[in-house]
Amino acid sequence: MSQIVLRPGDASLRERSRGRRASWSVDPVLLGAVVLLVGLGALLVWSATRPRLTSAGLDPQAFLFKHLVNAAIGGGFAVIASLFDYRALRAWTPVLFGLSCLGLVAVLSPLGSTINGAHSWILLPAGFQVQPSEFAKVALVVGIALILAERADGRRAPRHRDVLLALGLAALPMGLVMLQPDLGTTLVLTVIVLGALTVSAAPARWVLGLLLAGAVVSVGAVQLGVLEDYQLDRFTAFADPDHDLRGAGYNTNQARIAIGSGGLTGKGLFQGTQTNGAFIPEQQTDFVFTVAGEELGLVGATAIVGLLGVVLWRGLRIAARASDLFGRLVASGVVSWFAFQSFVNIGMTLGIMPVTGLPLPFVSYGGSAMFANLIAVGLLLNVHRGSLAAARR
């Protein structure tokens, strides 16, 4: 199997000049941004849950501890994902993909359970629960990269057959997630496919065609009434923010009030009146950004957007310098995923995107999402390490 080194000179020169540090094969900027985001997230989750837990007579630090434990476990996963042998990862991809699809099937079986209206969970013993659709994102990232890179063989752009095969593969987890139904995650999976296809240099008409098809399907779904009522309500609330402020528009309206009232520097951590009054439902998960907006103000909120921007920038840099097409596609998939999910989540709290129930990467509370996000960071670091290794060769 021959591999291409897409842009060896540039990277290898720089890494070589750092000679003695080359063994520490981690992107320190990426790692630093992720650690800062996770740390900020812990503070925000703490602030969001503290008053609720206190008024319920529970330990006010309960969510904070669970969040930190999740981050630690996720960090462990990330280390494993980053150290995995590159070739072994490719070899294990079909297994990972198969397991993740099995998990999605299990959700639809009687093993699955419904939390907050989404039938996305499997309850495990000892009060643990897992959300297989989060891991499906990781599986799809590596799966789609494998197909497009393997078939293309690195020498030519994927042909129509390869694209069709990739789409067929992606259709399986997407269909299963759609059945839950989880519209947000389905969109994330679609964006991962689009991102990988774009960077794989597949024919442009495929990318544009898929975008067009997506638009047609979305409009059709609204017109034909395929969407559930609550999904339509969310779109109505998006199109007309002042509609039904006690119902469908409640969340977004409260979110905008919290963020808007934060002003330039915010009300101070733990000082947000809207956060302390528990006006925003799901504040520690999907609406965690509102805590930043209210308590840390424009400065803090921009910092989070900026840190996410840094993660994406480093991710794209890793993609550009990847030693092979597989690595580049993995990195592109991860970046597409993080970019889309961050934009939709923050955009939703700011009232410029409809409510889709996607958590904010690294910041929102939630075990499965934290694990999947950190595994994805591990993959980025893995690709990074691979490109350094290739450069050293």
């Binding site: 021959s2 591999q3 291409i4 080194v5 897409l6 842009r7 060896p8 000179g9 008024s55 293309a152 690195g154 020498r155 030519r156 752009a157 991102g195 774009t198 960077v199 794989s200 240099a201 905008r256 009030i257 919290a258 963020i259 808007g260 009232s261 934060g262 002003g263 330039l264 009146t273 809207q274 302390n276 009054g277 528990a278 006006f279 907006g293 103000g297 424009l298 909120a301 921009t302 957007v305 996410l308 921007g309 994406l312 920038w313 794209l316 993609a319 550009a320 097409l325 580049r328 592109s332 970046v335 597409s336 970019a339 961050s342 934009f343 923050i346 955009g347 700011l350 009232g351 410029i352």
Partner: protein
Amino acid sequence: MTGPGTPIADRSGTRLLVLRLLVVAGVLTLIGRLWFLQVVTGEDYVRAAEDNRTRTVVTAAPRGEVLDEAGRPMIANRQALVVSVNRSLLRLAPAKGDDVLDRLSPVVSLSPAQLRARITPCGERLRGGGSGRAADGCWSGSPYQSVPVASYDPHDRAALRRVLLVQENPERFPGVEAQLQAVRAYPQGTSAAHVLGYLGPIAEPEVGTAAYAGVGERALVGRSGVEQTYEQQLRGVDGGQELIVDKSGNVTGTAGTTAPVPGSSLVLSIDAQVQAVAERALEQAISGARQRPYYRGGGPNVADSGSVVVMEARTGRLLAMASYPSYDPAEFTGGISTTRYQELLDAGNGQPLLFRATQGAYAPASTFKVVSASAAVMDGQTGFDDRMACPGVFRPTGQQNFAGQGLGTVSLRQAIVRSCDTNFYQLAYDAWLRDGGLSPVPDPKDPTIAMALAYGLGARTGVDLPAESRGLVPTRAWRESYWENVKDDFCQGAENPAFSAERRAYDRDVCLDGNLFRAGQATNLAVGQGEMLVTPLQLASVYASIANGGTIHRPQVAKGLVSPDGRTVTEIAPTVNGTLPVAPDVLAALRDALRGASSEPGGTSFGTFAGSGLKVAGKTGTGEVAGKQDTSWYASFAPFDDPELVVVGLVSQGGTGSGTAAPMVRAVYEGIYGTAGRPAALPGGRPLPLPSAPVRTVGPSGAPS
């Protein structure tokens, strides 16, 4: 190995650039939006956040009282001792207040289950559904408002003792309050119920509108009568307490308190004593008519309903407005059940809520002849002393005189005094022919219709009472649009084999040219029959304008407003709607003819007023209604030499005007002037001027201080 710079690598690199651009655009979009929300519009959201976490508990402003023209209370505020439960405080009590409710149960004679049901907000039990009444077992008000569970007369000593038990043991009854509150009371009983009106809960679409600015979601507002018309003046401004709450509604502090501003008191032109006289005369006339046989035979008079209107001739102010059947406004205090409300609207019960004086429309019959005569004289067709034949039957249309009797040759004045119909048929027929008959000239004059409109008929008088009827003046335009609406039905009827041949022929006629103004319709109109409809108030306005020399006033029941502190009295001045296009000498001749009708032998109400000592001028009317007994009317003013008062009486299905309505109106005048051995309700017939000194002072709780 393919080296760098291969086409695929380039293409892939370019594609990566697309991703980069998208990421940069996304980051910039989010930061821009953040800047807009937090910096540009941040102030708005700071305010919204403030509103978000405060709740207002309303302290209702005491509603202004309603007084009659002499300052007698018509609507007062009664003190009620109300026991209420504050849910927020109750929840903080041990066991969420279950013990408290158990202890409260014997005090207010309600079971703990009933108590709990009553204080549970309706929204928590039945989302969206339910009738929204506290009596139905749930609380329709704000969850932050204390829920009243029992109400007592403060003079009831036994109740007072039990309530004191609550007040003196606050530690045993946390969250339970006993307070004096104001509710509506009606010192004159059921008198003037329709004029006064009642209160009802504000409707959801009205909340937040300009007319109801500052009125809370569950407030009671005027739903009828002056309670509705003068809602804004009577209402006052509610006070409130701003409470700081979290999302679950737990009160965490108080942000501020504003005191309520009581509403103004309303002084009516209605005189409670004249009103009582009018109501008694109306009831007695109706019960008397029911004892007598209907003059055309077939059993006694039905006399199902009626009305009396007493108006000041020079101002349009109303001294009394009676309507039968009536209802007790106190039934609406504290909310009326839907069943009872439907009963009050039900035709089978005589529709007691229907205010006959302004909402009942009837054919005016011969009382309308003053309008037809004005038209004929002003049009130059005839003079008051010109003599005309009054045959028993009017040949061109075959219509009969009243009872088919001819009166020989009479003047127009005599035609009014003795009520000749054929005379007016002739005048109307001539005018109709002049307008072209069945092939009308362009822009026909239609003198009677034009005069009816000039007198203000066919339009609302603008009285300060809600939902007034327009009545109906059948103009050619009305006839045309009415025919457009119904002709399809008649055209189908003309072809309907189930109908009789006669019915089909009639339907065919209407179908073909039902829009034509026919001779019979023109002649009918001249004697106030046919499609013409007037309300008793409209007719009173017509007679007032004749009596006062040609000024049409906007009728008014309200005379002034007294500020809550009793210091400022604001007069609600009489308003002029217009002037009659009738010469003063013609009006004088009309007044003289009306005097003759009640004081000259042969006059239609001579028998009623002969020897009464009353200087009444008036016209009888006997309106024919298809399928019903005749409508009995009497329209009058007094004294005839210097008119001050106008009295119009109506009894539906009451027989002839002279038989029922005229004696009823005489009884009203006797009560007002105190003749026939009765005490005078309004000595000299002159109402009191509006006092400039305080009428009464209203305390902060709405109680007279």
